[in-house]
């Protein structure tokens, strides 16, 4: 598409006209890069400044005088236990909802078309519903089950199970669109040879699903790590706080110390930023469904 417009400009414009056009294009792209990165940039410069440097220099200015890593140490020691909690929750939540999604999407291919559509409409709507519509019952439900009375970590287990349940719909939909593109001949042949559904899943479907597992795992990891609302409603014991909750608490207790707040925000975001940089393609795929 770009070629066609470029060809056109070559026909009508002079060479310099074309060049100016490209310069303007890259100028606009770079200006936008500046705009998109500016909140992170001002956060990063501030996170390395002493309180004095923070007061006397603009956020545009890199930390040259009054450089310190104290904000990172303060925020890091405040957030460390919550990072551990987040990992303890997010790994089982992401793995199990992806696995459930894959099993469900595969199982549904053996169900009559009407039954499939019924389940899929339910799942599609579940991806979009505002979670506010379930918060009060969710709290009622878990206080009736009372895992938190059984074990001090019970709340964290409740939160993990909740995330698994709410992650299943999107994972199923992602896997289903992928399974529709799989070659069905191999599966049919195995079926005629008398292989059970479980065996076909283990031997054929699961190995072929690995690229989609990457997409769903990354999607769920980011979603669950970044969640705030479910954690806010389900966790009451500070020692069970996940990192988003603890970061919010840190912001409240360090209201005037932007350096510590910014360092804390970066620490809390680091796992998702790393995943995003390493697996950008898979992340984008999950977003566009």
């Amino acid at each position: 598409m770009a070629t066609t417009t470029d060809d056109k400009s070559e026909q009508t414009d002079t060479e310099t006209g074309l060049e100016l056009h490209r310069v303007a294009l890259y100028g606009a792209l770079l200006a936008l890069v500046g705009a998109y990165l500016s909140p992170l940039y001002s956060g990063l410069t501030t996170a390395f400044k002493t309180q004095e440097a923070y007061r006397n220099t603009s956020p545009l200015q890199p930390p040259i005088e009054g450089v310190t890593i104290d904000p990172w140490l303060t925020a890091g020691s405040e957030l460390a236990f919550a990072m551990v909690n987040s990992f303890a929750m997010v790994i089982p939540a992401a793995v199990l909802s992806a696995l459930f999604g894959s099993l469900t999407a595969y199982g549904l291919t053996k169900v009559d078309w009407r039954g499939q559509v019924f389940v899929l409409v339910l799942f599609l709507a579940a991806v979009f519903i505002p979670y506010q519509a379930v918060l009060v019952p969710l709290r009622q439900f878990w206080s009736m089950v009372g895992l938190s009375q059984v074990h001090p970590r019970g709340e964290l287990v409740e939160l993990t199970i909740t995330h698994i349940a709410y992650g299943i719909p999107i994972c199923t939909i992602l896997f289903r669109s992928y399974y529709q593109t799989l070659d069905s001949e191999l599966i049919e042949a195995a079926r005629l040879d008398g292989a059970s559904l479980a065996r076909i899943y283990r031997k054929i479907v699961l190995p072929l699903s690995l690229p989609m597992f990457a997409v769903t795992l990354i999607y769920q990891f980011t979603q669950v790590w970044n969640d705030f609302l479910f954690a806010l409603v389900l966790l009451s014991n500070r020692s069970n706080y996940v990192v988003t909750l603890e970061l919010n608490a840190l912001q409240g207790s360090m209201a005037t110390n932007y350096s510590v707040q910014m360092a804390g925000a970066f620490i809390a975001a680091l796992p998702t930023i790393l995943v995003y940089i390493l697996f950008g393609e898979q992340f984008a795929k999950g977003q566009t469904l």
Partner: protein
């Protein structure tokens, strides 16, 4: 499930044999049951709670039902202000994000170098938690933060404001930050749409002598309709539940100028223990979401996209 199976058999006796159906049950039934319980069971329970008038400590009384919670909404100035703000946020956020996202997509789609780097940067905010972005933007909007510093730097210092304190700017400040976070998402949706337009459509328009502007306006934008619809649904539904960002910035009580239904619901239920009223506001939010999702799910179904 039994009745579902029977209706399936009746409607379509030849497909999906019974043995397949039973053998496949262990695969899809556990997850489906979990979703039915946690999502749909909870939604139904929430509707019931909204009719009980439950507030304060103790448990809801499921023997007495009342419409009182819904009746008091129109006369609750906080609720009405939240509803207005929710609609304003929804319209402004969705509209501007789509336009910005389309602009980004058109720029990125011009056979540029380092395309994936540019894409990665524009989409980066989507990978961040709202708690993180709310903290970054609180600092951006602070009196010595980047925005006022830049305004001073280019001689527009008189424009600087108490962005997060002044009721006139609070909601707009939130909307700008959310557009920053979501426009990259719109960009990738539009990019996927742009790349699925067949090349000969451009060729044909070029032969007809259409100008670049006309080419975009007449040929390209209309073909992006399904991208626009998909992104609009996602953005509008998100706008309804944009809780985290406002809560982290302003707490449970952002004031009438920035209150939205998602925050009002949380405050009524979890801060004031007006559980039934909170549940009723949640029902309103759910109904609003349904008016957006319903037609979308139906058209997807009609197009055979499910």
């Amino acid at each position: 499930m039994d009745s579902l199976r029977n209706s399936i058999k009746r409607l379509n006796p030849l497909s999906a044999s019974d043995s397949d159906f039973f053998e496949s049950m262990p695969f899809w039934l556990p997850a489906t049951a979990l979703v039915l319980l946690f999502v749909y069971g909870a939604i139904g329970w929430n509707v019931i709670i909204s009719f009980t008038g439950w507030s304060g400590l103790g448990q809801p009384d499921y023997t007495n039902f009342t419409l009182e919670m819904y009746r008091q909404m129109p006369s609750d100035p906080n609720f009405m202000a939240s509803l207005r703000n929710t609609v304003a946020l929804l319209v402004a956020f969705t509209g501007v994000s789509l336009v910005v996202g389309l602009g980004l997509a058109l720029l990125v789609d011009r056979k540029i170098r380092f395309e994936s780097t540019f894409r990665t940067i524009y989409l980066l905010p989507m990978a961040l938690s709202f708690v993180v972005t709310a903290i970054f933007w609180s600092w951006m909007y602070a009196s010595n933060g980047l925005i006022d510093t830049m305004l001073n730097g280019i001689g527009l210092g008189w424009l600087s404001q108490d962005w997060l304190g002044d009721p006139r700017f609070k909601l707009a400040a939130v909307i700008v930050a959310l557009i920053w976070q979501f426009s990259g998402y719109c960009m990738i949706v539009y990019l996927a749409g742009l790349r699925s337009i067949p090349n000969d459509h451009y060729e044909a328009a070029r032969i007809d002598g259409a100008s670049t502007l006309k080419l975009y306006w007449r040929i390209i934008i209309p073909q992006l309709r399904s991208s626009t619809v998909g992104a609009t649904v996602v953005l509008m539904v998100f706008a309804l539940k944009a809780f985290d960002f406002i809560y982290v910035m302003f707490g449970t009580n952002p004031g009438r100028s920035a209150d939205i239904l998602a925050v009002t619901m949380y405050r009524e239920a979890f801060s004031s223990s007006e559980w039934a009223y909170g549940a009723a506001i949640a029902v309103v939010l759910f109904a609003l979401a349904l008016t957006i999702i319903g037609p979308y799910a139906y058209t997807q179904y009609k197009r055979g996209a499910l």
